[in-house]
Amino acid sequence: MNRRVLATLTTVAIAAIVAAAVVIYFRGPTHGSVQNASQSPVVGKAQKGKTAPQFEVATTAGYFDLSKTRKPVFLEVFATWCPHCQRETAVIDRLYAKYRNRVDFVAVSGSDTGMDGTSASSELDVLNWVRQFNVKYPVAYDPILNVASLYLQGGFPTIAIIGTNKKISDLDDGEITYGELDAALRSVLR
């Protein structure tokens, strides 16, 4: 086998790998599962532009009642096992450092599965998550998944930004950049 034949075979192999990847992605069963959110089966009734559904939870920083606060609210529904939620903690911590005096932050657990992906979720699991990812903002364990059932948009994390008029100004799932969330918070603070 000479050099030219080997070069041709190599080119064909590379082309085949790339073509197979494109075909599998756009035609195969994996298409749609590649995204920046961990899938959740729940889509709550919360909608952007509509009044935020009422909820109250006990957080690591005290009791939080949506109806009682006069500040805009940054709400995250997360799962401790979700890698996107784990990464998003660093983004939310930066926002919390910047806006903690002007915005109420609350993150609520929204899955019945724990951090290892197999055990049941628990208060301890959420507290371990807080410690492991050095989370600074208030976090709540919601055993009945009430907030998740109201706000989840089909993926973890789901983040809602609620204005002082109690309308939802932003609602999205997946990893959201610092810049996008910063702009959204600035918008409700105007």
């Binding site: 000479n2 050099r3 080997l6 070069a7 190599t10 192999a13 590379i14 790998i17 790339v18 197979a20 990847a21 494109v22 599998i24 992605y25 756009f26 994996t30 298409h31 599962s33 590649v34 995204q35 920046n36 890698p83 996107h84 990464r87 903690t89 660093a90 983004v91 930066r94 990893e175 950049t177 610092y178």
Partner: protein, 141 residues
């Protein structure tokens, strides 16, 4: 030079093999860098492990050594740039260098490591093909 070529090839083989079984996790790792649109991330996650396996095998046997080493150098440079951009933008992206179980966070030491690998690949490309290479046999044919 032979040792360097085999080390680089072995590294690429290991990286490709560890990534090959879990394209969804690899896609999540790539997407976390927020540099590429989803339509590219998906196919890239499916193809990259096998391209790395090919590159590694070619380096180890010394086939098309100069081209393979040059491509490896470019690959490591791209990794270094992606990781550096994540560090600068303060994105807590996982390195994902050796598959889904590699939970190391992208940081400056990873950038330095990839730059060192790029430099080593450049040296291999410059001195190609080196000893015990299929390229030497093909030249005689």
């Amino acid at each position: 030079m032979l040792l360097l070529r085999i080390l680089l090839g072995g590294l690429l083989l290991a990286a490709g093999a560890l990534k090959a079984g879990d394209p969804s996790s690899l896609a999540a790792s790539i997407a976390a860098f927020r540099l590429l649109p989803a339509a590219i991330v998906g196919p890239l996650a499916l193809a990259l492990p096998y391209l790395e396996l090919m590159l590694g095998a070619y380096l180890i046997v010394g086939l098309f050594t100069r081209v393979a080493a040059t491509l490896a150098a470019f690959e490591f440079l791209i990794y270094a740039a992606a990781i550096a951009s994540a560090v600068v933008r303060r994105i807590p992206a996982g390195c994902g260098c050796f598959g889904p179980k590699d939970t190391a966070i992208a940081d400056w030491p990873h950038v330095a490591f990839d730059l060192a690998l790029a430099a080593a690949s450049g040296v291999v490309a410059y001195a190609a093909p080196g000893a015990l290479a299929v390229d030497r046999v093909l030249r005689r044919v």
